[in-house]
Amino acid sequence: MGQVKVEALRGVTFDIDRGELVSILGPSGSGKSTLLNMIGALDRPTSGNIVIEGVDASTLSDNKLAEMRKRVGFVFQFFNLIPRLDAKANVELPLAIAGLPSRERTRKAEEALKRVGLGDRMRHKSSELSGGERQRVAVARALVTEPSFLLMDEPTGNLDSVSAGEMMDLVVDLNSSKNMTAVIVTHNQEISDRTKRTMRMRDGRIVSDQVT
């Protein structure tokens, strides 16, 4: 790690209301992933505040941040599944971390996998699944804890257009049917077009914030 400080975000101020479907659009290096990591309590700002459900996350201890992460569903560009575990075990993992008993975990994981259309692929390891399927497992993992909001970092970045379309169908459906707040970071205009609100970022700043 270098010693030169890089300001990834500058003067970023915005609110997201419950039930919103927001995309953050911008080129690589614009700071959109850094912003998402902070919203998801994966990172802390060096200055400024991030208030999540009334709590200032920027001042929380490591343990409190970890607790906060349990209320966030995170989906990563590279899926971030644990290769040695099968789909069901991957989806059960956040529940195991939360300390849920085995039977309840199994029931919830199976439900989540069925919801993303992978009811018949539960015992497959991630290496035995396609990119689209892996990302659906990641979405199931994000949803299984019934999080307050869903954060997705380039969720379709490694998917073909059909899988990407299916993924967005799922997200739009969750947003409308369950009123789930979702924030999607992308550099894909087509993905962004399917959200109600689009924030554009460049060089660590929000340059536009439009609601369609």
Partner: protein, 428 residues
Amino acid sequence: MRARDTMSYAFGAIRLRKLRSGLTTLGIVIGIAAIVALMSFTQGFQVAIESQFQEGFSTDTVIVSTGFLGFGSNSDFTLYVNDTNYINTIDNVETSAAILSRSCTADLGNMTRVLGVTGVNYTAYEIMYSTFVAERGAIPAVPSNDSAVIGHGVYDPFGNGTIEADVGDTILLSYSVRNGTSLVYINKTVTVVAVLAEIGAFGLGPSDSGFYIPIETAVEYFDTDVVSQIVVKLVDDSEAMVTSTSDAIKALFSNMVSVTSPTALLATISSALGLVSILIAGIAGISLLVAGIGIMNIMIVSLIERTREIGILKALGAKGRTVLAVFLTEAGLIGLIGAVAGILLGALLGNLIGIGVSAMMSGDGGFGGMGGGGGSSFGGFRMAFAPVVTPSLILLALFFGVVVSLVFALYPARRASKLTPVDALRSE
């Protein structure tokens, strides 16, 4: 995360890297096996020595000698056969017997053996030692000058019924003295009047390889009345009496003699063996230390390889202590599996060593009886070792196996727990 889930998650990680985990575990197995094998063997040895001693001596006797049990005398003080008369006047002394022994060549039937021929007072010896009893013939109360009582190992040296000397046989004893530059052999013919029952143990008293002649005969034959030891039987074996009588005997001889109680001697030997046992365990512990460093190495490699996985766990809400627990559980499981396998292997090795040593010791010409009244002749002595794996040794081995693993895994586990999720997820 629940303890069971942490365990299952950690076990999954171990199973994924079977070969590497196996080799790491092997380090612990070797370390623990070495400790268990050596400690069980030394404990077995200690138990064997103690039981042999307890069978072989009487606790109500003390031995008066000019050095430590006649070895390494650093005074020019001399004990004489007739000193028993003085000792017998001391309170609480029941009787005493002077021991006059010398190595002699004995012509037995088909073989010639070098034996320790010991001159003793048969009657006093019978009072002192319950093992001085005849199996064949009879020990005479008033022995003739040429009578001899032989140990069972002289009668049947191979333990297979090949009798070399029996009651009624005459045996030619000889020893040499220097006359100028030449050796002069002094011979004596004795007749076996009794064969002792098999003793099986060694100690301070009669032994299976002993050859006993009357003390008067020994004085005349060896042409000396200087004795190396006098065995004293007390009226009972209470510690206070042993101490006070020992002091009285020392005072009688102007503190120029040493008085050794077999109980004290056994305690000294036990404590020395205990020390040896600890020393050996310490040496074996070095291999455990090396195994611990192996665990640390493997955990650091694992940490580097699984940084992303740690990031995922943290992104899913795992706290630092959960990650710490996962890593420590992995190391603890390796330690536990290694310790259990090591205990089994160690017990097996201990048994093999025990069998090997027992075989070596039971061979003719092996370990001999300890000095003392029996005279130190060698051969015909059998002693079996069984390694002792005590519950405390098992617990100690388990404890060390797990603790060493945990201690060495602490640094990598702490490093893993301190990773920030963003940095961890960024790793390739």
